[in-house]
Symmetry: C3
Subunit: 354 residues, 3 copies
């Protein structure tokens, strides 16, 4: 329970009506019960309040709270920012008691910071260093000589490979694998498929390669401060240098980052996107969901690659790209419109109607 006036103050927002009214929790207007605070900062949500049994809501600036029959209201001029504060205030406490669970296997040579929580069946390898107040939930494995900064939150079943170096305030969702071996092989004799690729041919001719010899990963993974990694995401070790992710970058679920990939600072990489080996991504880049980026490319700072795009060549800074292969957004739209008109256009041309 929190009072409307206290909550408004905590969020740095204005309120109106009965500031002493206490609310239980924030809730979607369609699901809010009498004691809840309905979240209707988006004007499209406001009409839902007419049916809702709530007495308090967060509303767009200037909304007619009294006309909606509310006893109190908070006003949010920047809705999503208010959401961040609101959800931080009400977030559920995590079940992660301080201390090392007796079932955990922590190598005696590992250095463990103060105030950590290490859950059941966690394994921490030799020479690993775990920062202060880290919370490592059940079944996680931290490899030999890995370094984890302060205030980390490692969810269940995360695998962090040997020699990974990770900054402060790292959040890693369940099942992520950081530090698998890179997918890199060489054939003893140049393969026919390799040759066809090099020639740009449409058919493969000649003797085929058979034996794939492994190129091992001597590098590891290096991650900056304030990074998040999503559930079941995979980030491979580098070959001669580290695969790396800059400060403040956020990575969603089921993302794949190949060996030697460099992700800059403050990037957003959405779910199921894959970046192939040795590609470098600048700062503040946004990759939508299910994007594919080929190997050995670069994507310039401040670029936006739309969901589902396939990037097959170098992207200059500040570009907005779409499609497979990805092209500039306006060119993509011109092309898409032309294609849509194509069947009728061909028909007309055939009839000589021009």
């Amino acid at each position: 329970m929190i009072r409307i006036d206290a909550l408004a103050a905590a969020l740095g927002l204005d309120h109106a009506g009965d500031g002493a009214l206490a609310i239980d929790r924030p809730r979607h207007p369609a699901e809010a019960a009498a004691g809840d605070l309905a979240i209707a900062m988006d004007p499209a949500m406001v009409p839902l309040l007419e049916q809702a049994p709530v007495r308090a809501a967060i509303l767009p600036e200037g909304a007619d709270w009294q006309g909606l029959g509310l006893a109190a209201a908070i006003f949010a001029p920047r809705p999503r920012y208010a959401m961040a504060g609101l959800t931080a205030t009400f977030q559920h406490p995590l079940h992660a008691p301080e201390g090392v669970h007796p079932s955990a296997v922590v190598d005696p040579s590992a250095e463990i910071g103060e105030g950590v929580s290490i859950g059941p069946f966690v394994v921490i390898g030799p020479g690993a260093r775990i920062g202060a107040r880290a919370r490592i939930l059940s079944h996680a494995a931290i490899g030999a000589e890995a370094v984890l900064g302060d205030d980390a939150l490692i969810h269940a079943g995360v695998r962090i490979g040997a020699r990974a170096t990770i900054g402060h305030r790292f959040i890693c969702q369940p099942g992520a694998v950081i530090g698998g071996d890179g997918f890199s092989f060489v054939t003893l004799e140049p393969g026919a498929v390799e040759a066809a690729k090099a020639r740009g041919a449409s058919d493969v001719t000649g003797a085929a390669a058979t034996i794939h010899v492994r190129i091992h990963s001597l590098g590891a993974v290096r991650i900056g401060d304030d990074v998040e990694v999503g559930a079941n995401t995979t980030i491979d070790n580098g070959t001669l240098r580290d695969t790396s992710i800059g400060d403040g970058s956020k990575i969603d679920n089921q993302v794949q980052l190949g060996h030697n990939v460099v992700v800059g600072r403050h990037c957003l990489i959405c779910a199921q996107t894959g970046v192939a080996g040795s590609t470098e991504i600048g700062d503040r880049v946004v990759l939508g969901g299910q994007v594919g980026v080929a190997d050995h490319l670069s994507i310039g700072h401040d670029s936006l690659i739309a969901a589902g795009s396939g990037v097959g060549s170098r992207v200059p800074p500040r570009s907005v790209m779409m499609g497979v292969p990805a092209i500039k957004r306006d060119e993509f739209y011109r092309m898409t419109m032309a294609i849509r008109r194509l069947p009728r256009f061909m028909e007309k041309m055939r009839r000589g109607e021009g």
Copy 2:
């Protein structure tokens, strides 16, 4: 070993020949040994029986079993339905002995139903409720206050987050993550990338956003009865409401469902498909493999989205959609045909042949 007449009766099918003949197990005609029952309900499979050493087979209705040299046959007018019964009859028993393995860490406040099997290294959090006869295999983690219905089958290494609510007869393949945090951030000042997206521009201009502030997930995941979730699939918690999946829906491997997504009843979602945050999917919808669906959309009841499609706008009920961006199936085929003819068409036009 089961007799042909008993098996036919169990499957509700007709048989012919020696009903007392006993068979070991059903098998693909190309791999069947003398004691096996060859499965050749598909007419294309029947010729394989000429080489097979088997004495019994399941055949299409009316097939000439004697001409094939068989001693007995079962007839299946609806092949795939017969397969369901057949594989249920012969399915391998699961190694999941009743009881709680001594290594499991079950919080004393958790309520555990009768007849459960809880495997090695399972963790069950405080306040969790596990239904009767649930089988929870090794290394699974069930979060605090999660509720799991009766007769659940939770495979190895599944992570179920705190406060998830799951119905009866839930089947969850290994490595699935239910209840990771949603991927939702807000920037302190509107970012240049955000602005370019809003403007529909092809270039990003102005000062770039740097700090991404997290919107926490206050909701959880709510799953109906008779749902299946595939291996390494990820389903995120909702923000203010629950991410939810309706009764009878089946979800394949490596599917990603973002925060607040609503999946209706009796849907099929194939492998590697991703649905972005807050999108609502109706009842009996089929999403093929590797489909992408953008955020805040709806897909109407009884729709079919073909494999590999990218859905970027609202889909009305009963639609069959294909392509990136997804369009109606007949329009897609017209467009595809036109594109295929385009190089020759352009050539002709250039030569003035119209």
Copy 3:
């Protein structure tokens, strides 16, 4: 530390300069310190050596090592092959002490080979057979009656299902799931969606299917020798036969192989690719990243499917295919060029400029 002459001999390569010079480790030229061996076999890397403090490097054949101020050099006529030898020489030792960790749960009926390393919290089911010198890292689960060859390396959190049969020298990255149940269902009455698909209609009409009945997987997964499987990859059990992968095939992260899929020998399957049920892939096939292959197809020997392609029909041997749906590479390029020119072309035609 290793001497230049000894390293050159181990790699079967020529060297020049001070063979007695000892180096610490190979390193990317941009990151190499004074004691390192800079790896600059790619001519594009050579200029980086002018700034690097190193005294030794691996160079392209015939490079002017003295002009670069080096004290010693090794020459690599085939760079990637030299990389394989080099990374094998310097690979980090794995933390996997011989013996069975006291926390592991190994069924008494399992047969364990000589010289194995079985890590903390590993579970090995009844009747499983583990080959000599296998290294099974923490939290892995090996199902009942599974067979694993000699010299396996199973990383943390891998799940290998019951009755899987795996050859020698298997390497499996963290979080992979081998032997989940196939995604295969049948409806009691033919569904409206099924019917629309069969008709090729763009709209779904009639009564919709509701109940999906499961077809169980009676088969397992069969894997040859020298196979690698990537992190969080999923490979489902077969229905009546085994899903199978031939000798020497290498599979990257987050790949999905459906039930009954057959992968030939010496294939390379890149990250996030999915192959739907019952499709057969020949020998020496390369599937790029994020490829989708529909069910019940075949891809002929020695074919190359470019990244991001969607294969919707049978591919003959030795084909190079691209696009969605995938077509021959030269046809794809012709089409792509035509589409790019389309907006201008239409404009011209409209103006009657031909």
